[in-house]
Amino acid sequence: MIVNLIIMYANLIDVFKTNISMLQNQPLSGGIVAKNLRISDNGSGELTLYGDFNITLKVLDLTTDGAPSLNSLMTFTQQVITSKLRGGGYKGGISYFKYDSSKKAFDLNKNQTYSIRYSFNFSVNVIQIKMLNELKGNDFVLAVVDSIGYQFTDQQGKRHYSGGLTNGMGGPAVISYDVWKRYKYIGVHEFFHTLGLVDIEDNSKKNRLMYHLGNNTGHSISDAERGDMMQFIMRNIKDMTKSTYTNLNNNTVKLLGNFLNSPTNGFKFNQAKFR
């Protein structure tokens, strides 16, 4: 209860900060920053959402002996995230409230079923941070550690080691540096967990990026997954009626600290770097 209250207060403070930033015309910060938001209604049940989005993923090196390949891995991850998000997304059969184009608002008294076309421009930045104080409440983070002890059981009852772990939707992600060197896509895989996607275990879907039992034959993202990520990115469609937008304060620093120190996850890393 107390923790919830603290999180609620932190969230409120974040909202105030965002509002003050907007009033002072200061640049907004966070994992998702969007500008030039607008909705176009074709009058036949399709809304097209437009906006310019900056997605920032901060990488924190917590390895004991350093990570010499980190820059090239980050560049690769940035390129893949950019290419996967390019082209926006689509979701059909959305039961929502009727959009009033003249008022540029949703009418909460009228229902409407829509198809939603996301026509977002994305600029993705995967950047390294050296200090923990460079991390803020609504940032996305990928911490790089020496190893991960956590094992999971697949649907067939087989146990697997994890090369990466993400703390739920919107949460921080942690990956093993050694695994990242061997499987370059794991940084994107974990970040897409942060953006709301779940793992795939069907043998027939080994060509998908979210297949997580090894020996992938490809790294594709389905249209449905892309639509789900867009929905996560613009989580409250009502916010499209504002001109700017940042993602919710998820208290990233606290979540990362709890996640790293949870004994069940079995992370090995340089504790001195996480201060």
Partner: protein, 141 residues
């Protein structure tokens, strides 16, 4: 001729009397082994499939996710709010009352799949919702 007829009649009578004297076969009550009825639960949870149902029903357009609070500024349950509800309450709230009738046969969202979900799908959707508040790590390979 007459004696032959008499002989045949007596022979038939004799054979009939033998058959009629034979005891009725005893009815043997079949032994029914009392075995405990085993109910095999074939409902299998797979987060990906449950997530697809949530996605197709567009739940998160109204029940915002992620969110730290249990209700949004409109007073509606966030996805976290749903997760913190009792499972029976979720069933009642979501699948029985069907959102004030919006998803019923004559409601504005009658085309949504909610009415056609099987019991297994409903159970899996509820587990997916509950798991979203359990901080279960999502593992990569």
């Amino acid at each position: 001729m007459v004696s032959n007829l008499i002989k045949l009649s007596l022979g038939s009578l004799f054979i009939l009397s033998i058959y009629s004297c034979k005891g009725k076969p005893k009815y043997v009550k079949p032994i029914i082994e009392k075995k405990e009825k085993k109910v095999i639960d074939t409902c299998r949870y797979y987060a990906y499939d449950a997530g697809q149902i949530i996605s197709n029903l567009s739940c998160k357009f109204c029940h915002l996710s992620p969110d730290v609070a249990e209700k949004d500024d409109r007073g509606w349950a966030t996805f976290r709010g749903l997760a913190r509800m009792d499972s029976l309450k979720i069933v009642d709230y979501t699948f029985t009352k069907k959102h004030k009738g919006w998803f019923s046969e004559n409601g504005p969202y009658k085309t949504a799949r909610m009415d056609t979900l099987s019991d297994c799908e409903i159970r899996n959707v509820i587990r997916y919702i509950k798991d979203s508040d359990r901080n279960i790590p999502l593992p990569g390979q």
